[in-house]
């Protein structure tokens, strides 16, 4: 045998070389085998890029009265109409930006739309804005300004509370813009529109009040004495949903399109004064933390590539079929136990013991059970009735009895064997 093992092949062994295919052929093979997954990956990447571009490139927002919001509550329509009339519409979201844009536009070239939905702007800031606007010779259109704010914009203007909306409301004054618009929406939501948007309605008392509801002296549109600061208590006429109704568009264009530049100033969180709060986490951490942690991330990826790269393809191991031989035995035993087959089990045990006793006592396999009992009793010296009861008596009823019988059978067989 050992000579077989040490004997080696005498013929010249085959020489193996790398696959002679060129890089292009190998790439082609890779494409053929992994076509499905490559296409899946390409589609995934393309869809991700598309979604990213759509989300980023559209510059859409969802704010109410935002000039980049095409939804019913947005004001993109008004901005587009004004742009088509040659007005340069730009949005700002902080007081500093607005003032900078105002001074950049030059004197008398701007209209500023002021909208502060959350009432962030302090009265002092409002006064600053009003001063700057006046110095620049611009018009200030305040959309639903708060009572304290409107008072700072112009001493002529006062807030006169809210009013219930009506379907429509007439100009009711001699201001040329209002007269040109004629009839506008009265502020109640249009029932004909699905998911209607309604904005709160405010009334203002100024030197000149237009769109005055019946029985009121204050109007939805109030001007100061100079006519360059106005408060529009019904900004709902500007949103995309309502712009096409009645004289809404006319009023919007005339109010906002006076000057070649329109600054659409929506007050944001940036205008909140910086409180004396605790320094942020970014200010507390040392400057090397971010570069070091990002580098460690890179190192971790390198470590994964180091340890994760297999040295060669996976090797399969064809396993042979192996079944445990005593499986059927264990299965039958469990079946006996689950079925509490005391009778069957006891009968089997007794029969096996009888067969073995007959062989041990040289009675042959065809011996009568009674003969085996007699021979066993004679061999062991036990009383015949006892041996008979054990080997041929009533079958056990309980598991305990079966266990006792099984042990006694073993003892009996041992006694006979030792004889």
């Amino acid at each position: 045998m050992s000579s077989v093992a040490s004997h080696r092949t005498s013929s010249e062994p085959e020489t193996f070389r790398a696959d002679p295919a060129s890089t292009a052929q190998r790439a082609g093979r890779l494409w053929r085998t992994g076509k499905f997954w490559i296409i899946c990956a390409a589609i995934f990447v393309a869809l991700s890029l598309l979604a990213f571009i759509l989300a980023k490139g559209g510059e859409q927002s969802s704010g109410t009265l935002s000039i980049t919001n095409p939804a019913p509550a947005g004001a993109q329509g008004a901005a587009e109409v004004l742009r088509s009339h040659g007005v340069d519409v730009s949005a700002t979201d902080s007081l500093a930006d607005t003032l900078a844009a105002l001074s950049a536009n030059g004197a008398g070239n701007s209209t500023v739309v002021f909208y502060d939905p959350y009432n962030f702007l302090s009265p002092d800031q409002a006064a600053t804005l009003a001063d700057e606007v006046r110095e620049a010779g611009a018009r200030l259109v305040a959309l639903s300004p708060a009572p304290l704010t409107v008072a700072r914009f112009s001493p002529d203007l006062l807030s006169a509370g809210t009013a219930r909306g009506t379907a429509s409301i007439a100009a009711g004054c001699s201001q040329p813009d209002a007269v040109a618009a004629g009839m506008i929406d009265g502020g109640s939501s249009d029932l004909g529109v699905l998911a209607p948007v309604s904005l709160p309605l405010h009334l203002y008392q100024g030197t000149q009040n237009c769109f005055t509801p019946q029985g009121e002296t204050a109007g939805q549109l109030a001007f100061n004495a100079a006519g360059d600061v106005m408060a529009l208590g019904n900004p709902g006429i500007l949103i995309n949903q309502n712009l096409a109704n009645r004289g809404n568009a006319a009023l919007a264009v005339r109010l906002l399109g006076h000057a070649p530049n329109l600054l659409w100033y929506t007050v944001s969180i940036k205008d909140l004064p910086v409180a004396e709060q605790a320094p942020s986490l970014a200010e507390l951490t040392p400057s090397w933390i971010f570069p070091a942690s990002s580098w460690l991330l890179l190192v971790a990826v390198i470590g994964m590539l180091w340890k994760g790269r297999r040295s060669g393809p996976l090797v399969p191991e064809p396993l042979p079929v192996i079944v445990k031989a005593s499986e059927t035995l264990a299965g039958r035993a469990r079946l006996y136990q689950d079925g509490r087959a005391v009778g069957t089990a006891s009968r089997t045990l007794r029969h096996a013991s009888l067969t073995r006793l007959a062989r041990a006592l040289r009675l042959g396999i065809t011996a009568e059970p009674d003969a085996v009992v007699l021979a066993t009793a004679a061999a062991t010296g036990r009383p015949v009735p006892q041996v008979h009861a054990l080997l041929l008596g009533a079958l056990p009823k309980t598991e305990q009895e079966m266990l006792t019988m099984a042990v006694e059978l073993t003892a009996l067989e041992e006694e006979v064997a030792q004889r």
């Binding site: 590539l305 180091w306 040295s311 090797v315 191991e317 035993a333 136990q337 089997t348 073993t410």
Partner: protein, 430 residues
């Protein structure tokens, strides 16, 4: 492409300048250094595709013995190859050092020896060799795999070989080659010789005595040149694992011992491994080393999950020999399979041949029979008694047909089968 631990630690070391001089510049500089290292190593590494390989493999190795497979590498590129070479042996080949480092200068050759200690019988393969060729910095490598199929045949261990000397001695005693001359050594006439005191008077050849005027006795020797056909069952029942080896492995051991013994005894041995078709067929009719041919044929056998086609076995035996033979069936005596197929088969075979049925007995069943310590154990004992009872019944039926049965545990089966052969030969039944 692959990277080494050295590259990882280099990247980790770059953390020091990044912490010392925080900022985008040091970060990007470190990244540039890493990229340069990758580029340099990749460009200067020898191509793993320009390596040619040859394998030198042993013809066969017995299970449990160690061997080595040699891989000859020739570097056909002008660059120095610094590589990790991985020989892709399947796990059961037990490669101790499948991953080795080599340094081969351009145009030179080297040989790698992979130590193998197979843990399973059969044909074990290595389909490919992977080469990871590092650049001069030892940080980044090009990796390639070359298809280089190699096959190592792991032969049955033949542990039963240790019984061979004692069984051969018994056989020689039968043959009359030993010092003791006995009359009843066989039925075949051997020679005449002078009577010496102590010889059986019944063996005196009177006719020869009359011619020679001296008392002459006949001597007998066992029959020679009888046929022994071993049928090894590779069907589903051979997949049963008894005592850490399958019934098929035990059967192979028993078949090998019997075959060697019978060949030394002067008989002609044939072996068929059968389930529904012939898996292996060896005959000692041809010249050459019978044992070698047999282990080579038996090595790749594996149990098949199909039922044994018993009616076809008689035909397979007839193809091997048209004469009366000793047919040894190495199969299973389990209830079910045996009742349907085995009993009719041995009944019909025994009309023409001497038939021996050898089966592996599960010692776990005998142990379970004795354990009556708890209710669960008692139920198990009852199940074991049931199994043994069925087995005894089948054995009785088979014996009634004049068939010998060898029913033994895995360790005992080969010697008991050999004993059965010697007994039959002594009795002149072959």
């Amino acid at each position: 492409m692959a990277i080494s631990g050295r590259f990882f630690y280099l990247a980790l070391a770059a953390l020091v300048p990044i912490i010392a001089l925080p900022g985008a510049l040091s970060w990007l500089l470190s990244l540039t250094v890493l990229a340069l290292v990758v580029l340099v190593d990749l460009l200067l590494a020898a191509s793993p595709r320009k390596i040619s390989l040859r394998r030198t493999l042993p013809n066969g190795v017995r299970l449990g013995e160690a061997t080595s497979a040699t891989v000859h590498l020739a570097n056909e590129s002008p660059r120095t190859l610094r590589a990790q070479v991985k020989d892709g042996w399947q796990p059961s080949a037990g490669a101790l050092n499948p991953l080795q480092n080599v340094l081969i200068r351009g145009g030179e050759r080297a040989a790698l020896s992979v130590a193998l200690r197979p843990v399973r019988r059969g044909d074990l393969r290595s389909q490919h060799i992977s080469i990871r060729s590092f650049g001069p910095l030892g940080m980044v490598a090009r990796q390639g795999t070359i298809q280089a199929p190699g096959l190592l045949r792991v032969l049955p261990p033949f542990h039963a070989k240790r019984h061979l000397p004692s069984k051969l001695r018994k056989l020689r005693e039968l043959d009359g080659k030993a010092a003791v001359q006995i009359r009843g050594a066989g039925t075949e006439f051997d020679s005449l010789r002078d009577y010496v005191r102590g010889d059986d008077v019944r063996s005196i050849d009177w006719r020869a005595t009359a011619r020679r005027r001296d008392v002459v006795v006949r001597t007998w020797r066992p029959e020679r040149d009888r046929r022994v056909v071993i049928v090894l069952d590779t069907s589903r029942t051979s997949a049963a694992r008894v005592d850490d080896e399958t019934a098929l492995d035990t059967g192979i051991e028993a078949a090998l011992l019997l075959a060697v013994l019978a060949e030394r005894g002067g008989d002609r041995v044939s072996l068929i491994a059968y389930d529904r078709r012939i898996r292996a067929k060896v005959s000692s009719a041809g010249k050459g080393n019978m044992l070698n041919g047999m282990v080579q044929a038996l090595a790749p056998l594996a149990p098949e999950l199909i039922e044994l086609n018993t009616p076809a076995i008689a035909g397979a035996v007839r193809q091997v020999t048209a004469h009366r033979a000793l047919v040894v069936l190495i199969t299973s005596l389990d209830a079910g399979a045996a009742e349907e197929g085995l009993i009719p088969l041995v009944t019909s075979l025994s009309q023409k041949h001497v038939v021996v049925v050898a089966a592996v007995r599960d010692p776990a069943v005998d142990q379970a029979r004795h354990d009556r310590s708890s209710t669960t154990a008692t139920y198990r004992a009852a199940a074991a008694e049931h199994a043994l009872n069925r087995r005894a019944a089948i054995t009785a039926v088979v014996k009634q047909a004049g068939v010998e049965v060898v029913d033994a545990t895995p360790l005992d089966l080969p010697p008991h089968l050999a004993d059965m052969y010697i007994k039959l030969k002594a009795a002149g039944r072959l």
